[in-house]
Amino acid sequence: MQSLRIAFRNVTRQRRRSLPLAAAVAFGFFVFTLVTAFTNGLLDSVESNVASLTGGHIYVSGSELDPLGRELQVIRDPSVVDAAVEAAGPAVASRQRRSSAPVALIAGSREARQLVIGVDPGRQGGFLDGLSFADGDPSSFLADPTGLLLPAETIEALGVDVGERVIVKATTIRGQLNIADFVVAGGIVGQAALGLDFGYAHVDALDALLDVAPGEVQAISILLEDLGALDATTDRLEVQLAAFAPVVRASDDPETMPAMARAMQGGLGSVATEEAWEGTRYLITTVDDLLGGMRDLVDIMNATAAAIFAVIVVIILVGVMNAYRMVMIERTPEIGAMRAMGVQRSGIRNIFLAEAFLVAATGAVAGLLLALTTMGAVGLVDLGSSNLSFFLQQGHLHFSVIPRDAVLSTLLVSLMSVAAVLVPARAAARIAPAEALRSVG
């Protein structure tokens, strides 16, 4: 305790040395914390927005074979999925049915292609809040069962205004052509660059267009309370569904993803006789399957940030070690006096180690506080509706600091500083009192 008190006094008395060292640690910690919080926040935002756009974190779609061996994307008996979801555990917050189809939109002599998702905004709270409206508002969509939300670029290509009627032409789940009238209820900011440039219709209206009978569904999206339960819930859901029908996990069979993409394109795939199945086959896809590339990118960014941090820490530690070699030389008379007064070698060593710990810990905490302040300030900036909105939360950059990681990083930096000072500390402890006192002078 005495060593700690003396160390604290030394650190505060020798500010010219302590402050630059602490500032260097703070800078390294600031950069590392900011970058990792940014990338983790980016992933959180994208996951949250994907969950909002797709209606959940787990997606169950079904397909069956028609007499010609063609794969039809439909779940005839959704109660099977409902029962499996009920049994899959308590992490499920809600579930809603979804449809999707590539359609041709026709207004006057203009035509545009658009992938349209059928949603049930009444059951998926917050879905409309997750969209950025460029024109119109959510209430128009909610009020009109034939309402259609389209990317602003599509509305421009069609030359229509919000409130105008368009003809929607699509291929039914069996491959027949069908058309119906819809009303443009709003223009939204699309995410064409990310391949998520969707339009939205009410699922009942889209199902009618696609000839999905009442009571049947194309897919069911499952929203979880806690994304941490994703793997466990998906595993349990697979086991439950497998009791009734064949199940394929998108993560296990990459070939199923093209099939899913094909379904999104409205194509009817043919299935070889040896691969045929009876009844409905379920495909389970998770948000991780969709964001595999994004997650890899975040991992790479975090690894890069960690590498940069490691380099900064090494440079700082070399600086700390050299600084304390100098400290040892400067304090030789003081060390001699302390040893002459009965301070043990371990006491001298502990003073040095405690000083290094205090400087590093103070720097790390300062860096963390600075990073938190910067994040708070940047997070307040409203970036509005733009092509970046998919990476934002309600128009704001979101940073995610994991408290456990922050504490561990602070401890790690502090302990590494202690390790760096170990050599000069031992050298200081080994100085003979008589020799040290002779150097006074």
Binding site: S109, E111, T171, T172, Q176, L177, I179, G266, G269
Partner: protein, 255 residues
Amino acid sequence: MTPGSFRSLPMALAATLLACLLPVAAAQLADVDGLLARIDQQGNYLGDLSATVTLQSIDPTEGDERRQARWFRRDADDAFLILILEPTTELGQGYLNVEDGFWFYDPESRQFVYTSLSESFEGSDANHDDFGAPSYADDYRITSLTEGTLGAYDVWIAELEATHGDATYPFKTIWVSRAEELVLKSEDYSLTERLLRTSYFPSYARIGDAYIADRMIFVDALVPGRTTEITISDLSTAELPEYIFTKAYVERVNR
């Protein structure tokens, strides 16, 4: 028939007339029963076909477009292949319909992508399945049949309803010449029974016992002023090698 069966002479005359006409009507109905099958039979050629296809699209918004392609067809296997020749930016793109599905080949990505026969061909009003052999008898049943005229032709006007959910158009009305039993006009309807397009087949080429429409005009019912005209030229019945209807050939022809 016994005296007194009819109460008056006019009634008796009407009954006599009806009795005379019934065999004619019965014979006509018998003919009509096989109408769709006969249309299919005439439209299917037993050998191989190849030709140059020219597609002229008129679009009030997008402007006019001309495309040309080589077309290979083997009705016995229900197979066809279309290789785009023009525009040069799309040279080498191919549409292959074989047993395992209908594929689009993009020479840039060098990949085959599954697509649907009911989809529009190159964004025109023609569909991919317009390039295959007709299959009215398999896909439709007649719900109404009347006599009429179409220009100078005496025709059957048949309203059709798809017998299964796989036909591209759930409802159709076709005008069939009574003399040759060729489809001269077709109105194609959606599942919601709204007109999607009107097709005209003003010219047929006779090859053996088969008739192949060598001029087709598709008028879009949804986009006013948009039409597509397909002309088939250089029609050949020379036997085609087996490898023509393979993915390997579509890839190789691009190299």
